[in-house]
Symmetry: C2
Subunit: 455 residues, 2 copies
């Protein structure tokens, strides 16, 4: 089919800290990105504006040409026979491609070279439940540190990669200060794409290494993270950026759909049931909104029984614009300047903030935040109860879960799923000051006896 | 059944760098470890001496009371109906417990709290194959960085944990300088055991944090790693160590069996076929010998068709006692003082060295080594071709694979599986000097154009 590209080469920024911010302006796309050929992205039928509902053909665009609202993927989903669909999924691969019929990817996606993320463990967290006062058997941690580069970003990058393939892009790119850089570098390497990732020039040494090791180009930008993002937006609108897919900018509508797979997996792993409550971290807010979208799709398709569920959002106090708006009863989110150890969530002006507020209120959830000390405590709580070493973002969700229970907002007798979206090995500094040897002794039994650690 | 414990409280060291060394002397066990009750470890029927064949009842012992040879687990395996067994396995959980009928664990092991490691990806590595000159579709990387604490140690610790449960131990322990500490700390936390891990007092800060975060006791020992090991052996023989399971000492026979699951998974993931060639890292040599044991079991059970396979061992040149013995045509391994970046393989006096030599020669494999620069090159080769960021041990196997192909020892037309046993995030220092930003520029299109990275 011949599709029309809504191409408006222009410059304004749309990303921040690996997520979209509220300040859009461009509708995206490199001038010559090829969407004239038939684009096969499986059940994806087009892009639709979340504000005005205008429908656009599939292409590397991310904002509505009518109202500048964000675009999301629309589908022709395989309705009609939930049992058959369930069997198809269950006989699929142990990764996100088992849900290919519900994603913007071609049907043969599992045969293409990619990192095959997903199908991470849903851990029944009875030890943590005891500490939090949750009923035994009711608390679960969805542990996305099990992904190939150890964060949930592998899910979203895998979707963006398929879109990049479909649109004929040859370079995969992003701006990043952490998880996303590794996810893009690794996925591009495996899939045979060139990658070029942009980072602030003064990024911590460890993060530079994690991003550079996959052999793509890594460009330090002299300036702040905002400068990096502005530069990337310029590049997308310039002929220099021809053939470039920025996973979280011009491929953003596809990228975001990867988070739906968290909802699918959680329900399937619960035996095709909706959880009663979910605690989800908020950076741009995209993940939370896509999880809600995924749950609604499962209901519509008859894959799970319809029943109420509550979605709770979790932020770090040092970057809590959505929690602040929620508590104040506002519909709009007032930007903040981030100052928290939870850097993977540090988006001061989250693009999907208003949608998150709407979902939290509509489902009967809430948005709460915890400070840096509570984040550290929660990381260590999860580690010592379940043996899961979470990134700071996981400390945020576990800490918020505790706070919500104490406040009576989260019901400890209901099935609750808490997301851990990243790996503690990437944020060692957060726990280093309080994770040290118990004691140091001479190598003798007498010294050991004196230390009082026997028995 | 009443079983007799072969208890010889004594002191000599048996471990080094997380693995057993050649210098045994004690036959192990804390004086009062309870093996008088019926011990249910599934198909495990006893322990047998690998030297003199003497059979012992199941218990926390690790060396033969007759000849001081190492003990290994003997089984009553479910022979007779391979199809039924294959179906049982295939319908099992997506972790090592799908092989419970072949492991020293109770049948209901999957219901007990543990980290459920295994069933990691077997990645068809066509990009790497192209670089190494291996036929397309024939090269695979078994990527054990996907385990819960991101190394293969989760497999072996999970076995030791079940033995510890069966013997009534309440503390899980080990000496470690790296991967094992995290694996023990995490597994113990999840399973409700106390843990106490011993490390050299001057261990790098990052490794201390990774070991301490799970909340168990972490004891720094003033001295070298050898001092730590000597101390642990003393502790096992003393009443102070009562109720303590040292995963790699008095639980070593069970612990080692975890490596069999690598063989099982590789064959199942290849469609119940033996690979033609395997490249396995050598630390103590235990992993390689247990992989061979696992392959032989699959043949005996009729789960795979019998055919020749070659096992190649891989060492770092800076700690290559087995490779040196292999090349010199010796049957005995002469200890070395390790000096290599591949610290997880740095066992200078590997207990299973002679067995490794025997297997490499018997199967038509070889033992080869690569130096530190080649290890770094290989880590980066694997990262840029397949998006897999390996620990130094993975650099050793990939580097050795390349060397073996160049030497004509490994046939590039045959199905070859290369093991990556750990995660690059834990050995960032190895690649840091050569994994840096391509360039640093001002945030302007002109500066980007001048950098020559567009297109």
């Amino acid at each position: 089919m011949a599709v029309q590209t809504v191409a408006t080469p222009s410059t304004p920024a749309d990303t921040s800290s690996e997520g979209s911010t509220g300040s859009t302006g461009s509708t995206g796309t490199a001038p010559s990105a090829g969407t004239d050929a038939a684009v096969d992205l499986g059940p994806a039928s087009g892009l639709t504006c979340r504000e005005c509902g205008t429908l656009f053909p599939l292409g590397p665009i991310f904002a509505c040409a009518e109202c500048f609202g964000p675009l999301e993927v629309a589908y022709d989903l395989p309705e009609g026979d939930p049992e058959a669909l369930r069997r198809t999924i269950e006989s699929g691969p142990a990764n996100i491609w088992r849900y290919a019929p519900l994603l913007p990817v071609p049907a043969d996606v599992a045969d293409k070279p990619n990192l095959n993320p997903g199908w991470t463990k849903l851990v029944q967290a009875d030890n943590l439940a005891r500490e939090l006062g949750v009923e035994q058997g009711k608390l679960f941690v969805k542990d996305d540190s099990g992904n190939p580069t150890h964060s949930f970003k592998d899910r979203v990058v895998a979707q963006a990669l398929e879109a990049a393939r479909a649109f004929g892009f040859t370079t995969l790119s992003c701006s990043s200060t952490g998880n996303l850089a590794g996810a893009v570098g690794a996925a591009a390497a495996r899939a045979g794409f060139r990658s070029c990732v942009f980072i602030p020039h003064d990024l911590e040494q460890g993060k530079v290494v994690m991003a550079a090791v996959y052999g793509g180009d890594l460009v330090g930008i002299e300036g702040t993270y905002d400068d990096v993002n502005r530069f990337c937006s310029e590049l997308i609108g310039d002929p220099l950026g021809e053939g470039w897919g920025f996973v979280n900018v011009n491929l953003r509508p596809y990228y975001g759909e990867g988070s739906k797979t968290l909802a699918y997996e959680i329900c399937e792993q619960l035996g095709w049931q909706l959880p009663d409550q979910l605690v989800v971290p908020i950076a741009s807010g995209s993940q939370l909104t896509k999880i809600d979208k995924g749950l609604k799709e499962l209901i519509k398709l008859g894959l799970v029984e319809d029943k109420p569920y509550k979605i709770f959002g979790a932020q770090a106090t040092g970057c809590s614009p959505v929690a602040a708006a929620y508590k104040a009863g506002h519909d709009v989110v007032r930007p903040q300047k981030p100052d928290t150890i939870a850097k993977s969530l540090a988006i001061g002006n989250p693009a999907d903030g208003p949608y998150v507020l709407d979902i939290a209120r509509r489902t009967g959830g809430a948005v709460e935040d915890v400070d840096d000390a509570q984040i550290v405590d929660a990381i260590k709580l999860l580690a010592r109860t379940e043996g899961i070493f979470a990134e700071t973002a996981g400390g945020v969700t576990v800490g918020v879960t505790r706070k919500l229970i104490e406040a009576g907002l989260l019901d400890p007798s209901l099935t609750t799923v808490v997301l851990n979206t990243g790996d503690g090995l990437k944020t060692l500094d957060a726990v280093a000051p309080t994770s040290q040897a118990t004691t140091t002794i001479r190598p003798s039994l007498d010294a050991f006896r004196a230390a009082g650690l026997a028995g």
